[in-house]
Each structure stands twice: as C-alpha cells, then as structure tokens.
Amino acid sequence: MENFQLLMGGLESALTPMNLLYAAVGVLLGTFVGVLPGIGPAMAIALLLPVTYRLEPTSAFIMFAGLYYGGMYGGSTTSILLNTPGESASVMTALEGNRMARAGRGAQALATAAVGSFVAGTIGTILVAFFSPALADVAVDLGAPSYFALMVLALVMTTTVLGASALRGFAALFLGLTIGLVGLDLNTGQPRLTFGVTQLVDRLDIVVVAVGIFALGEALWVAAHLRRKPAHVIPVGRPWLSRDDWGRSWKPWLRGTAFGFPFGALPAGGAEIPTFLSYLTERKLSKRGDFGRGAIEGVAGPEAANNASAAGMFVPMLALGLPVTATAAVMLSALQGYGITPGPQLMTDHADLVWTLLASLLIGNTLLLVLNLPLAPLWARLLRIPRPQLYAGILFFACLGAYATNLDPFDIALLLVFGLLGLMMRRFGLPVLPLILGVILGPLMETKLREALTISGGDYAALLSEPLAVVIYVLIALFILARPLIARARAGAEESATPEDEKELANS
C-alpha cells in the first residue's frame, strides 16, 4: 500500500499545468515522429532528446513519457492505415488492422488500438510501481557476477531470439560491442580504438549512434530504394467504438496485457513474442470466423500486448539499471545526463524522481487517449507528405539533434558514419537491436567483469560464485540447446498463421 501512496505523491508533483503542457507537447511530437515511416519510439526519443536538455528532470521525464507512448501509437497508426509496420512490435497489429481499414473500419481499428494501449499502459505502469521496488530490494544484494550473467543473458537472448539468422545477430552484436569499446578505458584511462581523435576519447554518445543507425540509416536505405509511386493511404474519420466493438475488445485488451507485461520485464523479452502470442490466442478464441477479414480482436489484443510490454521494460530498467530495449537504452542515457546512475540504488537515492516518472507514464498515457482520438484524421493526412521532403526533414532534424549537443560539426560527421553503418546493416539483413544493446551493455559488462575478478584476485571461478549467476548460465545453456526446437515450433506456428498473411506483409 505504501507504494500506492508514493505513486500518488508522484502524481501530485507531476500534475502541474506546466507539466501537463509538456506531456501534451511530448505526446504530439511523439505521435508525429512515430507516424513517420521507419521511425519507432526509440528513435522519437533520441531525436527529441535535445529538446529536453534544459528542462527540470521532472518535466523532462513527463515529456519522455508522452514521447514514448505517442511514438508507439504513431507506429500503430501507420500499421493500420498503410499496412506497413514501422517496427516488429506492430507487425501483428497490421494484419487485421489494415484489413479493417480496407473494409472501412479504420476508425474503429484506431480506436481499439488507442483504448487498448491506454488500458494496457495503465495496468502495466501500476504493476511496475508494485514490482520494481521489490525487485530493487533483492537486486541491492546482487554482486558483480550476477550482473555480468544477467547481461550475458540479455545479449544472448536478443541475439538469438529475434530475427531469422543468429549468425547475422552475432555480427551485429559484436559490431555493437566494438563501438562500445571506443573511448577511454574506465579503469586505466588509456584510449582504445580512438584513432588519435580527441572527440572519440570521451566515449561515443549513444544518441548519436542510435539516431545515425535508425534515422539516417533508414533515410539512406530508402534513398537507395525509393518507391516511385506514393503509398495508398486510406482516409479515416473520427475514431469511435460501437457497443458491440467494446464488447469484443475488452477481453483481448486484458489478455494482451497479461501476455505483454511479463515479456517486457524479461531481458530480451521484447514485444514481438507477446504480440504474436496474443494474436494467435485471439485467433483461436474467435468464434465469429472473421479473422483474416478484419477482426477487431486481432487489433485489440496485440496492441495491448505491445503497450504492456513497453511498460514492463521499466522494471529491469529502474530496478537493475538494465536496459532491455533500444528505447530503454536511450532513456537511460538521458537519465545519466541528469547525473543519475541507474541501478538498484536508484529506487532509494532518487525515489521521488522514480515515482514522478511512473506517474508521468500514467499521465502521458491518459493524454494520449484524450489527444489522439480526435486527431486521428490529421495523423492520417501526415502520411501524405511527399517522400523527398519527408526524408529531407528527417535528415534535417537528425543533424540538428547531433549538432546541438556540442555544437561540433564532428558529431554530424559521426552521425553520417553511423548512418552508413545503418545502411549497410539494412542491406545485409543485420538486426539493429543487438548492436544497440552491445553498445550500451558492453562497457557495463566489462566494468562488472573486472569488478568481480578484482575481488577474487583474478580467479575466473568467481563468475560462478553467486547462485543467481549459476542459475542464469544454466538457463542460457538450456536455451541454446533448445533453440532448434523453438525455431521449429515457431515455423510451425507461423505456418498456421495463414501463409497469405505473410505473403501480403512481405509484398506490401
């Protein structure tokens, strides 16, 4: 119950008219960027970070919360109206959502997505408020070996679970770890991989890396393959839900939330698996037989799962300081900008901040619903911006963000280098997430490894000196052994998810 009071306290400090304005601006900007092609919530936050530099931490968090949820919702909008999921988490939404839109029920699809996101986000945030402190209490006693093991788990899972090719996953991961090496060695202060460039000594800014790989990489990749015909956007009216739609949606919302939250809280759980499970479940439970022709349950469930997983992400991030998604990674670097070190002590040292952040998530979520239901037709119009100007705008803002941090053209050059890397990754099918996590977790892993071995005097057995670490390594081993079976099960499940869905998604 104490947590509940703390959350209320957080709400009190967050609910000022000025902060509400920041939240509203965040939601609008986030949705705006999220609707843009190929840009997910991680990107939205990275691009708009410079905007929050001079804000109070509280206001900045509130804006982040708005950006985050806005970015997610923007992604759903494009999935439904264009059948083009901007990120893997909205793939399942696109299946039924776009069919609904084509059948003239786009407004209902958008509405069930918005309300479902709101329900899942609210439940998820409340769960975070109850779980994180308990987890942080446990985590305070964890030593370096367990942390090291947790990070190994996160990297192995993201590298092997997501994407079709584990080999390409590892290629991306090692590239990311290499990027993470650049800069001064934290213990001895010697420069590594800096090529004698002073600006590199200070370690690379994750925001420049993320914006380069996501935004610039996307723009360059699109430039190489620009579709010469404009995409067909289905016009949409004001979203509303009939009594029947409500009746069909509320159970999938709750089920989707139940799928999404635990996966989001796991290292490398992500949103892909729970949205997929939610879609399959709704499909199995559906008695109407309109799956494949635009069933509202097929939008309500995965959307809720997606947002619940987005809330679940905050549990490891706040309690352990462990980012499990690209978005969490960017948020953590923003926290560090305020001189806050994430980790188990965050809950005790900066309790007020954490509760304010959680309260802001609730506020951002509510505002999302209030603002975006009436604004949906406007967002749909945004999808008609001519492509050259749209991507020119993305390049412009990406460079502005990189340049504004230090006012150094070198950062734009760096952005370009990572943009070319992003282009290369898209060309060769290398997944982006392992690379980003490699950049973030690499230096952390090295610190923990050296900590553990300094204590033990160089004995590598120290890595197995904590029970949790041993359990995690056993899990990893089991997982690697079971991987062929999982792959087969997934292939089987995808077969049953109607091959023509896949074809349509592939050819859209």
Partner: protein, 180 residues
C-alpha cells in the same frame, strides 16, 4: 556491389538456405572481410595497451574477446555466403525492393551531409540547415527547388530561434552573426 533480386521474405525461423535460389551474394563477402578487418584492428589496438597493476582482467581482455568474436563471425559468414545464404534486406513502407538499388541518390545525400559538416561553422546553422534540407529533398527527386529552399530556411531559422530562446543554446550564427 551487386544487388540481388529479392524473393518474397520467408517467415522467420526458416533458414535462408531453403530458398530455391542458390545464388551467391558477393556483397556479403565484402561484409565478412570488413568484420574480420575490424576484429583484427581491435586486437592489434588492444595489444598496445599497458596492463595496470591490481587489475587482473586489464584493459586488453575485452577487446581481445570482441575482436576474436568478429573474426569468427566474419569467417562463418564467408562459409554461409559460399553455401548460398542470402540476407533479407529490410523492407518498409517507402522501400521498393523490386527494382535495383540506386546508389547515386545515396551518394548525393552523403555529399549534401558532408557539405553540411564542412560549412556549418562557417555559414552558421540557419543557412547550412536550409541547404541541407533543400539539398536532401533535391537528391531524393524533388523538383520544387524554390519551395524547398524556402521551407528549409523557415525550418532552420525557426529551429535556431527555438534553441536560442527556448533552451538558451546559441547554435552557430555563422555569417548571419548579428542579423539573427
């Protein structure tokens, strides 16, 4: 760089080797070589580091492991490529994979960005940003140059004032020093 014709993306979890085409994607050899080169450079770079005392791991171990990992992945990728493993290029709403890649447009964009890097401190953000926007739009096939320049100027000047007034960060004024 050769760009292969794409087959419809197969569902995840199904190895690419099962695709009927056994064409070798030559570009992937380039990627494999790049991975190996970066890996070797990382190892060489780490070998030149001093190992401090009371630091049993030292600054070398991690780069050694990562560098070896890169070399190994590069080698495996070479084998996989030779056996006909195809990458799945990323699809997207504005991406048309049915035609061959247009690297000229990419080069134009890179040139525009390099121009920005070279001139931003001299001309200032308001002008460089406008050139960046208009140049990028032109590279991507827009032919409404006048309008693009105007939009770019509005964006750049507005963002200059937004940063200056709203956040107190003076972006470089450049040649417009005193006018803005």
């Amino acid at each position: 760089m050769s760009v292969h014709d794409t087959q419809p993306a197969h569902p995840e979890g199904q190895p690419a080797e099962e695709s009927p085409q056994r064409r070798v994607d030559l570009g992937q050899y380039g990627l494999a070589v790049l991975l190996v080169v970066i890996g070797i450079y990382t190892i060489i770079d780490a070998a030149g580091l001093e190992v401090g005392f009371a630091d049993p791991v030292g600054p070398r171990v991690f780069p050694y492991v990562i560098g070896s990992g890169l070399v190994l992945v590069g080698a495996l990728l070479t084998v996989a490529t030779a056996r006909g493993s195809q990458p799945e290029p990323e699809d997207g709403e504005d991406v048309d994979l049915s035609s061959s890649a247009d690297w000229l447009t990419v080069l134009k964009l890179v040139a525009v960005l390099l121009f920005t890097v070279a001139t931003v401190n001299l001309l200032g953000w308001a002008i460089s940003g406008a050139v960046l926007f208009a140049g990028a739009a032109w590279s991507l096939g827009s032919r409404t140059l006048v309008r693009d320049v105007l939009v770019g100027l509005v964006l750049a000047i507005a963002s200059w004032y937004a940063f200056y007034v709203g956040l107190g960060i003076p972006l470089t004024p450049g040649v417009l020093d005193g006018i803005l």
